[in-house]
Amino acid sequence: MPDKVKLFGNFAEMDDGEEHLLIKVKAATLNIDELWESGSLSASFLSSFWGKFFPSSNKASKAEMKDAVRYIAGELVGNAVKFSHEPDILIRIALCMSENELHFYVTNSVAPKAVGEYQEFIKKLADSDPDELYVEQMEKNALDDDSDESHMGFLTIILDYGACLAWKFEEHEDSGIHIATTMARLPVVRNNL
């Protein structure tokens, strides 16, 4: 059990009893390029699966679902790969259907010194108008070619896909390990069932 838990946004625990897809990757077994590629392949597999079996006879909505899952899963897993700190902690990617939402859960370790900055950005996301923040971040990116962080992943998930984001941070004091779970809720409209 973690010693401290901090939630941001409307976080709900995953219901393991519900049907879901789960992929776990051990960071220690791969180098960063391989880990990035495995994240990309995982997102691609999840999107092909949901695109294929999404309960709709409407071809356009299946294509939209496939695209959305590919993008959101890809961004969340990409973040997990970037932030992952403890080589033996598994990166976990899960997708599950809940009422009229598709839920994404991505869990990874975070370096203790990176937790503060991560949470500050989450607070900035919550306190800002996302359209204004989008323009602000893009203008900043246009001026600063040297920074490797665009900070556009979460923003585009919210703005371009209409998804809501939430986070759970767990701190284990004895081991000094910090675990972050990012949850995305994607509204699902099922046409022509």
């Binding site: 990035w36 990409g78 556009m152 992943g153 585009t156």
Partner: protein, 115 residues
């Protein structure tokens, strides 16, 4: 001008002012898009009358790629103020319209062409 990799290709035709992106672009961070950003900058410096960004065959683009288009091309074209800018998208990949409508916030005169 052309950049080709196992999964994607970016090319520029100076006689038509068209930049074409094809394939899957899922590179790791902004740093990995540096050569693409350099190609974009070269095109902006050429100041063609109209710049067309054709992404109809681009199956996937991650947020670092969207940032490279937004910050590395759209904002730079807008600031230079010398070229008309058109983005050519396909309905086959719904992400294209979503992402480009987002990028239009940076340059409202940007024209979106949808096949």
């Amino acid at each position: 001008m052309q950049i080709a990799d196992e999964n994607y290709k970016v090319s520029y035709n100076s006689s038509t002012g068209t930049i074409t992106c094809e394939g899957v672009m899922d590179l790791r961070g902004k740093e990995a898009y540096k050569s693409v950003a350099k190609l974009f900058q070269d095109v902006v410096n050429e100041t063609p009358e109209t710049i067309v960004l054709d992404i109809r065959e681009l199956e996937f683009l991650n947020s670092s790629g969207i940032t490279t288009i937004g910050a590395g091309l759209v904002i730079k074209v807008r600031k230079k103020g010398a070229s008309k800018f058109v983005v050519h998208c396909s309905k086959a990949f719904p992400w294209q319209e979503r992402s480009i409508k987002g990028v239009m916030k940076l340059m409202p005169t940007l024209e979106l062409k949808l096949d």
